[in-house]
Symmetry: C2
């Protein structure tokens, strides 16, 4: 079974392939993709073999075919619809992040408890949190982004679960626990910065 690191590499290969496509490359070797993704060629071939992706001995891989297969694995062939909860600092930025639309990720609506944030006219609209469950069910949405304060995150997760959400990307600085049937991907900005700080200090001290 593929693990998190493997899928992240697949995303990198996919991004590299998209650049090659714009350069009109027809074929690519595992060596090329390895360089682009910063891994070994053996790793690339191993990853592909895990998904039954085959190339041509001697001729490498066809860029188009390979890109199609990776896109399929990563769910890029259909638009992925999200809801976003918590239209604060980070939430608002994500709501209007142009990089998402470019890559087939669409935020259908934002939700908040603060009436000041409501804006039915904007795109995406910002709606009252009470409408979340109904909205999610009507639109058959299974993915959510959480950007509420830490103290509210666990409660919001409860709402999302009972609305039928299956995957959550969490930006609240608290490690949300995922019950069975729901995947949570926690991104803790403070933790990431602490990590950076540690390794900067560690290398400065010559370790």
């Amino acid at each position: 079974m593929a693990n998190r690191s493997c899928i992240i590499r697949l995303s990198r290969y996919k991004n590299a392939l998209n650049r090659l496509k714009t350069l009109n490359f027809i074929r690519v070797f595992s060596d090329n993709l390895a360089d682009a993704a910063g891994v070994t060629a053996a790793q690339v071939r191993k990853d592909f073999s895990l998904f039954g992706i085959t190339g041509n001995r001697r001729g490498g891989y066809k860029v188009d075919d390979l890109a199609d297969q990776l896109n399929k694995i990563l769910g890029k062939e259909q638009l992925q619809e999200f809801v976003l909860i918590g239209v604060g600092n980070i939430g608002r930025a994500l709501l209007h992040y142009p990089g998402f639309e470019r890559s087939g990720i669409h935020i259908a609506a934002g939700f908040d408890i603060d009436p000041v944030k409501y804006d039915v006219e904007s795109e995406p609209p910002v709606l009252p949190l009470e409408q979340l469950a109904e909205f999610v069910k009507r639109r058959d949405i299974t993915l959510a982004i959480v950007a509420v304060p830490d103290y509210a995150a666990q409660q919001v997760l409860g709402l999302l679960l009972s609305a039928g959400i299956k995957g959550v990307m969490n930006f609240a600085p608290i490690c949300l626990k995922a019950p069975d049937g729901c995947i949570v991907n926690n991104i803790n900005l403070e933790t990431e910065l602490e990590n950076l700080i540690y390794f900067v200090n560690a290398t400065e001290n010559g370790n």
Copy 2:
């Protein structure tokens, strides 16, 4: 040597300890921290031993002491000063993210090439990119957050390196390559969402 996963666990232990402190806990066992961080007790003790952190056989660890030692390792005993480049969607959100100040992370200034973004009066101020090198050197800052568009990221990294920056947290959707003497931590929001999407689909199909 500690790896990235190990330091992330240390941040989790630290966060758990801070909560225990507010609850007036005096002592804590490796079992407790393991539960809080979602790892095994052996892992906790192994991590501590890597940093020469010792407790009391039978009595566990003193919450205060342990928190102090972890804070020191993670650089929490002094204010960490950052500059931020690219005051767009994401950059502006990070510039005013209250969670950073609460955890000893201070963004001294934002920088942009677009004069519309300049604002010397705001806190943090937004300054012209030309002033970056001088500002960084004068204030002796070694850490930066990059939130510029992908096509500008590599060039901005060059500026940062020549200004003496030693650690970069990169939000541009491109994998920045770190030369020796500089650490780069890439956070690719699109890749993280693709990861989530993959595992939601994978578990739905019963794997």
